[in-house]
């Protein structure tokens, strides 16, 4: 059993596993894996538009996944990326629709506001953990729901756009949209922002005292405390930063794709991002690769559903299985190290 599992280690094993599981889901739905996969890949990579949509999904997953990576590194379970993404988007959308500054300044401001929104939401959980010792798992989970209801209330009432038919803010004027990265697609330079954050995080983790403390706290909190790390400060700070990174993602979705805020901003990116962070082994650069892989699944899943009749929800089922198996793999890898 151990041997079979350890052959699954490494990104190649993860890909193999995904292929096998996907084939199974396709066969059950009555489609041959060849038809299913060709629909998936054509839908994800078959042309400029398809590639654009895949990279849009990659971007939307990458922000929360990087935030989660930071928190997990500190041994903190941030399961609230979904709510942090939403709050970041809400802050950016509400202000973006209301003010008019020079475009470059306003766009920068909106992305920063996204960080503030997500940062506050992560920070609340961090403060509760640091101040009261409250479980960040429960706190971030609850905050997801609070964010969803709060956002719904605000955009149904006070923040609702004057011309909006549903629950959404007014549209951003076109000069405040994030510049397009790939012409004639919805892909914005948000992807570049996400990749830059990944590089910065990699540097922080490997080359700074803060990154070292983060890992020390994650792996041996008592030892870290005794060596002089301020546990409380590090706890709220890493959850706030984690939320801030996810929050920028929300602002990028608003300014780059939707051009307004509505509550359907995320179809569960914050939860899928947990799988992305784990597949990327909590290493920011691998997380980027993993986000692209999951971007293919998200974007191609829709095409697969349309042309090969395989329900796209199969993808979430598979993500869950991947999380379970990868978590088991970690144990096996650790076990072999000891032996």
């Amino acid at each position: 059993m151990k041997r079979t599992l350890s052959t699954l280690s490494g990104p190649l094993g993860a890909i193999l596993l995904i292929v096998v599981l996907m084939s199974l889901a396709m066969v059950v739905a009555g489609t041959s894996p060849i038809d299913g996969f060709s629909a998936l890949f054509l839908g994800a990579l078959g042309g400029r538009n398809e590639l654009g949509e895949t990279l849009v999904a990659t971007t939307s997953l990458l922000f929360p996944a990087l935030g989660i990576t930071l928190a997990f590194r500190a041994g903190l379970f941030n399961i609230g990326a979904e709510g942090q993404l939403l709050m970041g988007g809400l802050f950016a959308g509400a202000v973006g629709a209301a003010i008019a500054l020079p475009p470059a300044i306003e766009i920068t401001l909106l992305l920063l506001l996204g960080a503030v929104g997500g940062g506050i939401w992560g920070g609340i959980a961090g403060w509760m953990k640091a101040r009261f010792g409250a479980s960040e798992i429960i706190a971030t989970l609850m905050l997801n729901f609070v964010a969803a209801f709060l956002a719904l209330d605000l955009v149904s009432g006070p923040l609702k756009g004057p011309l909006a038919s549903g629950a959404e803010t007014a549209w951003l004027a076109p000069q405040y949209w994030l510049p397009t990265l790939l012409p004639h697609t919805r892909l914005s330079i948000g992807l570049v922002v996400a990749l830059a954050i990944a590089v910065v995080l990699q540097f922080v983790f490997t080359r700074t005292v803060f990154g070292y403390d983060l890992r020390a706290v994650g792996e041996a909190p008592e030892a870290a405390r005794r060596s002089g790390v301020d546990l409380r400060r590090l706890t709220w700070l890493s959850l706030a930063l984690s939320g801030a990174i996810a929050g920028v993602g929300g602002a990028v979705i608003v300014t780059g794709e939707l051009h307004r805020f509505n509550t359907q901003l995320s179809p569960g990116y914050g939860f899928t991002a947990i799988a992305v962070a784990l597949v990327g082994d909590l290493n920011p650069l691998w997380v980027c690769v993993a986000a692209f892989g999951f971007g293919i699944l998200e974007a191609g899943g829709l095409a697969m559903q349309a042309s090969a009749q395989v329900p796209k929800d199969a993808i979430h089922l598979i993500e869950g299985l991947i999380i379970l198996v990868l978590a088991a793999r970690r144990y096996v890898a650790a076990g072999t190290e000891v032996a």
């Binding site: 429960i138 989970l141 993500e319």
Partner: protein, 285 residues
């Protein structure tokens, strides 16, 4: 007066699924395994109860299937937590994704429609028996945990599994039993939602009750009676939404929906530090 009666009745009904899940949370955490997959196990229970009721025409068999489905995912978590020493939170989140994604996939495969199943035969007025059973089980579980040798052993697993080993027992086996039972209870809670209160499965119908149950476990200080009491309070919040809907004009409807979660957050901050979780809660053995 009628309003008060409506409120009490609604509170009991709304609290019931949370009580089941919270009892599942208590037994699991008492044995040392945090079951964050309660939400997914409720989904599995709700989904399979409908499927089997649809296939056999018997809601009772559906109920059994719901319990079994929850127990099966409980076993998955138990395996992950005991044999593979997987991080319990990660495994639980994985189970949540598997169950919600799997149910959505199943809906399209079986009923060829996303969002909701067709209507199936439900328990009808018999569902009152499940309301009573929830509170009876709370009492029973309290007795089992505090008055029987098995209960003592389970609690010992959550405090100090090494001591359990020195007493010649297998803490991994005890944890497995506890987590399977936990899943069965969550599955029962889910089945109550789909074929008790309603007669179909619809996506998102568990609406975070499995997570609310985790909070109820904390407020109930990891005891069955305490957790059920906390579940009643959450049930009251939910019932208030229905009773007050439209009566308070200035209060937006989703603010009412957010109330249980905000209350959970405030209580979480207020109570932590004053209560002590089982010592080995969440720690792999």
């Amino acid at each position: 007066m009628t309003l008060a009666i409506t409120l009490v009745v609604l509170t009991l009904i709304k609290a019931t699924p949370i009580v089941y899940a919270a009892l599942g949370g208590v037994i699991s955490e008492r044995s040392g395994v945090i079951n964050i997959g309660l939400e997914g196990m409720m989904v599995a229970g709700a989904f399979f109860a409908v499927i089997v009721s649809y296939a056999t025409g018997s809601p009772v068999l559906g109920l059994v299937a719901g319990i079994a489905a929850g127990a099966a995912f409980g076993y998955v978590l138990a395996l992950a937590a005991t044999r593979f020493k997987v991080d319990q939170i990660v495994a639980g989140m994985g189970i949540n994704l598997i169950c919600t994604g799997g149910a959505a996939y199943g809906l399209v495969l079986l009923f060829n429609q996303p969002g909701a199943s067709v209507q199936v035969r439900a328990l009808g007025s018999n569902y009152w028996a499940l309301v009573v059973l929830a509170f009876a089980l709370a009492g029973a579980l309290h007795v089992v945990l505090y008055r029987t040798p098995w209960g003592l052993r389970v609690r010992a697993c959550g405090e100090n599994p090494f001591a359990v080993t020195s007493a010649g027992l297998n803490p991994l086996l005890l944890r497995t039993y506890a987590v399977v039972l936990s899943g069965a209870l969550a599955g029962l809670g889910g089945a109550f939602l789909s074929i008790g209160e309603l007669n179909l499965y619809s996506e998102g119908m568990t609406a975070g009750r499995g997570f609310i149950a985790l909070a109820a476990v904390i407020f109930g200080r990891w005891t069955p009676l305490g957790a059920s009491g906390a579940a009643l309070v959450f049930g009251l919040f939910e019932a208030l939404q229905f009773v007050l809907e439209g009566r308070i004009a200035w209060l937006p409807p989703s603010a009412m929906s957010a109330l249980p979660y905000v209350a959970a957050l405030i209580a979480l901050a207020g109570i932590t530090g004053k209560v002590r979780p089982p010592k080995a809660d969440g720690v792999p053995y």
